[in-house]
Amino acid sequence: MERVQLERKVLSENDRIAAGLRARFAEHNILCLNLISSPGSGKTSLLERTLDSFDRSERVAVLTGDIQTENDAKRLARFGFPVKQITTGGTCHLDARMIERALLDWRLDDIDLLLIENVGNLVCPSSYDLGEAAKLVVLSVTEGEDKPLKYPSIFFKSELLILNKIDLLPYVPFDIAAAEENARSVHRNMDIVRVSCQTRQGMTEWLAWLDRKREISRAAASAS
């Protein structure tokens, strides 16, 4: 019996496609963000509020992933920006090839910001690189504040934690300080914003984060 050392990534094929996407996003000066959360944490609502805040001249596009239905794309399309649904037909996450395929008939030159809404799932999407500049994780206050400890992978890999549904804080036993402390125990330098898509509280902070990220991305593009 001979032992042969391999030392390569299991998802090297996905990583190869993701690297290709990342290079194309850089070439076309696109900031791509990958939004991940449990089902029902409010990714689509956050995107609705976000798209609603943009001037219609903004060059923003959305890819939204779901196992079934085109419902999210319909909700998001009414803001007038290009939106495409990716229906995975059972797969619990988006992978780089799905993104590559979805972008085939879009002109990348017309896009500055590409928002990807992943399938609602805190585990599987964390393993798949989609070529994004950053992963963002949404956690709502109707969930447990220990989720960062239970699902450390996604909190470790996400640059920003969006704590959503804070308008419900008076009615639920969610300890928001403990949630933030748990997130930072997994990822010390994680950015955190608190928002409510209903009352729009915290939307200014979230949009400021997004603006800063777009600014950094633009600066990096003009420097290269």
């Binding site: 019996m1 964390s126 393993s127 992978s153 996604i154 997994v186 010390r188």
Partner: protein
């Protein structure tokens, strides 16, 4: 549950590698899974066995090395495993650490029996 897809990626890699060993048989594959990889080792083993059963790859064993989160102290350089990024260094007590690993999802090794022997027994 994406372990099925991940187990499939491992088998794809094995099928590719098999071509490097004409007439040989791969008996075992070693996979390294970090605590932060988002992959459950039990589910992974289950999917792997289900996918291998009844195929030309049998017999094929999977050995999983599960890797904890590891940090290196910025003050004294000591490396240690810890569940929190802000854990104190067990050597010097400082809380300034640098992430070393724990998010891996890697094919580590294969065990191959050469063609002649596999055919003769």
């Amino acid at each position: 549950m994406h372990e099925m897809g991940i187990a499939n990626s491992v088998l794809d890699a094995i099928r590719t590698e098999t071509r490097r060993f004409p007439g040989g048989h791969i008996y075992k594959v070693g996979v390294r899974i970090g605590e932060l990889a988002g992959v459950d080792p039990d589910a992974m083993s289950f999917c792997f066995e289900a996918l291998v059963r009844g195929t030309e790859l049998e017999p094929l064993a999977l050995e999983i090395e599960y890797c904890p989160r590891r940090y290196q102290c910025r003050a004294c350089g000591h490396s240690y495993a810890a569940a929190r990024e802000d854990s104190a260094c067990p050597e010097c007590g400082m809380r300034e650490s640098q992430f070393l690993g724990g998010d891996e999802l890697e094919l580590a090794y294969l065990e191959v029996e050469n063609g002649a022997r596999a055919a003769g027994t």
